[in-house]
């Protein structure tokens, strides 16, 4: 039985904002299936009472003082933008909730 179906891969692609072709979906479904099967080996390490590590080192409480630092100029901020209007980033229409 495969670990991941083509439909699931299509769902992952949607979640990841990747417009994949049907061929790509097939290709990735096969590859991801093999990879997932292999990485599932992590289950073999009995670690029930082991705390998970989200970080490499156990640092805590790293903060900065609430001080203002120099921002970019609008020119710098917008310098890489694909489209600009009125010192703002111009983006395609947003499908979202009606505000």
């Amino acid at each position: 039985m495969s670990a991941i179906t083509r439909d699931e891969v299509a769902h992952l692609a949607r979640l990841s904002r990747l417009a994949l072709t049907d061929d790509e979906l097939d290709h990735y479904a096969t590859q991801l299936d093999a990879i997932i099967e292999s990485v599932a080996k992590v289950a073999e390490v009995a670690a029930e009472d082991v705390p998970p590590s989200s970080h490499a080192l156990p640092l805590t409480n790293v903060f900065r003082a609430d001080e203002v630092r120099q921002s970019l100029t609008p020119e710098q901020a917008l310098s890489g933008a694909p489209a600009v209007e009125d010192d703002r980033f111009r983006v395609p229409r947003i499908l979202g909730e009606e505000a």
Binding site: R14, V42, L57, G80, P82
Partner: protein, 496 residues
């Protein structure tokens, strides 16, 4: 001996003494780049004028009496994953083609402050995802030892540039072995510092909890000098360690292992390891014993699950880190014809702008973090991470350093593993545990494999902030082997 063959330490001394200018040193290396680059393809971006401008500024600073470090005037090749104000930064991805950052990475800034001269930006696997530099959107880099072989990855442009004498030094980043593995397969030195020992600010993130900037050089001392030049606490990186940089330069000069306890990782050897790699490693073990080290075998049984844990953690983090590449604020935008929605344009751009390995990892990470799968995959991988860190800790109660071959094989042919991700991932088998635990680790050349005459690397691992131990052992091995070989291993490389 021409300027390009000199070490970074020598070049720094010559510049400091006024015997040669930073501009002359830069020109010699720019000429070398122009000469061999068509064969190697180590660089994504070289701008002679920008580089010479930097060199002139360094000469000016030195003339005005400013005290710069020992690497002032020394040229460096900079991995194209660090932001640079005066050069494009692409992470070898189409999605960032031509992007000019409005800010310098902390590593970049410290290189400039130390008077290093940036020759250009080096090639890499797209967003540092890979072990061969074949995943670059701008074509593969070739191994100077054999142009049909990979130079390692992801920092393959940086390793090749140093091995091909295009630069005496280069920067890399190591997430699962991306410095040590390329160093091993190109016959140079590559160091992954302790996680948090070098700043990630301005390093385009692949996997935040693993990414570590580090140095490449043709010898251990040069690597230590570069390590010291750009490392240390950075308030702009919350995960940066607020502690002095371990005295790596001193350790590299010392190079003495008498009385040192060395553990050989039992799990990293034997089946799956190329005989020539195993043979050179075994000799290195014997060498260390002959130099007075106490060698014991150490078993770290969970290291076998480091690879699967890594291939859950790194993709999970990358699926989130790479979400910002969405065609809205910078970079590529595809399909914005006035009718399509932002959502569609994002998906079209990301499909067009990312290469297959990046897409594969984004989807794998998205899967591992999804509700319903999180505990079995990402959650369990994090527990494995704890188990591995504990095994390291237990080992370091018994020994001062652990050693293994850096890679199971020497450089493999370009194209050989391109369509087989699982085979490709095996290249990082021995290097990944140190990333998961945040430990320091170095790769130093230990000879050529008999089968193919290609370089083999010895990996030396040390605990968090034990970076100096890595250099100490590496320097001892280097000194002993070079006297045996009658010079550096790289002199065996064919002329380009």
């Amino acid at each position: 001996m021409s300027l390009i063959q000199k070490s970074a330490a020598e070049l720094g001394a010559l510049v400091a003494a006024g015997e040669v200018s930073a501009v002359e040193v830069a020109e010699a290396h720019l000429d070398r780049i122009a000469e061999v680059e068509p064969k190697i393809n180590a660089f994504l971006h070289v701008d002679r004028e920008v580089t010479l401008g930097q060199a002139r500024a360094v000469d000016e600073r030195l003339r005005s009496g400013e005290r710069l470090g020992p690497l002032a005037g020394v040229p460096i090749a900079h991995k194209d994953i660090f932001t640079t104000r005066d050069m494009p930064t692409t992470a070898a991805s189409r999605i960032l083609e031509g992007w000019r950052p409005p800010y310098d990475a902390t590593v970049t800034r410290r290189l400039r402050e130390a008077g290093l001269v940036i020759l250009g930006k080096t090639n890499l696997d797209e967003f540092a995802m890979g072990s061969s530099t074949e995943n670059s959107a701008y074509g593969p880099t070739r191994n100077p030892w054999d142009l049909d072989k990979i130079p390692g990855g992801s920092s393959g442009g940086s390793s090749a540039a140093v091995a091909a004498y295009q630069a005496p030094l280069s920067t890399g980043t190591d997430t699962g072995g991306s410095i040590r593995q390329p160093a091993a397969v190109t016959g140079i030195v590559g160091m992954k510092p302790t996680y948090g020992g070098s700043s990630r600010y301005g390093l385009i993130a692949f996997a935040s909890s693993l990414d570590t900037p580090g140095p490449f050089a043709r010898n251990v001392l040069d690597a230590a000098l570069l390590h010291e030049a750009f490392s240390g606490h950075d308030p702009l990186d919350s995960t940066s360690i607020d502690a002095p940089v371990p005295s790596v330069v001193e350790a590299a000069r010392q190079g003495d292992v008498a009385g040192l306890r060395v553990g050989v990782v039992k799990e990293f050897g034997g089946e799956g390891f190329q005989p020539g790699v195993q043979a050179r490693f075994n000799e290195a073990v014997a060498l260390l014993e002959s130099l007075g080290a106490k060698v014991v075998e150490i078993s770290c049984p969970s290291f076998a699950t480091a690879l699967p844990a890594y291939y859950l953690i790194a993709p999970s983090e990358c699926s989130s880190n790479l979400a910002r590449f969405d065609a809205m604020r910078y970079g590529l935008r595809v399909g914005d014809d006035g009718t399509r929605s932002a959502e569609e344009v994002m998906a079209l751009t990301r499909a067009a702008g990312f290469g297959p390995e990046v897409k594969r990892r984004i989807m794998l990470g998205t899967y591992a973090l999804s509700s319903g799968y999180y505990d079995a995959y990402y959650g369990q991988a994090q527990k494995v991470r704890t188990v591995i860190a504990r095994e390291f800790e237990a080992a370091y109660h018994q020994v001062d350093v652990l050693i293994s071959p850096t890679t199971p094989t020497t450089a493999f042919p370009i194209g050989e593993r391109a369509d087989d991700p699982m085979a490709m991932y095996l290249a990082d088998l021995c290097t990944i545990p140190s990333n998961l635990a945040g430990n320091a680790a170095i790769s130093v050349p230990c000879g050529l494999a008999d089968e193919d005459g290609l370089p083999v690397g010895l990996q030396i691992m040390a605990p968090v902030l034990g970076d100096d131990r890595c250099y100490r052992v590496a320097a001892a091995v280097e000194k002993a082997l070079e006297s045996r070989w009658g010079g550096p291993l790289l002199k065996e490389a064919p002329a380009l």
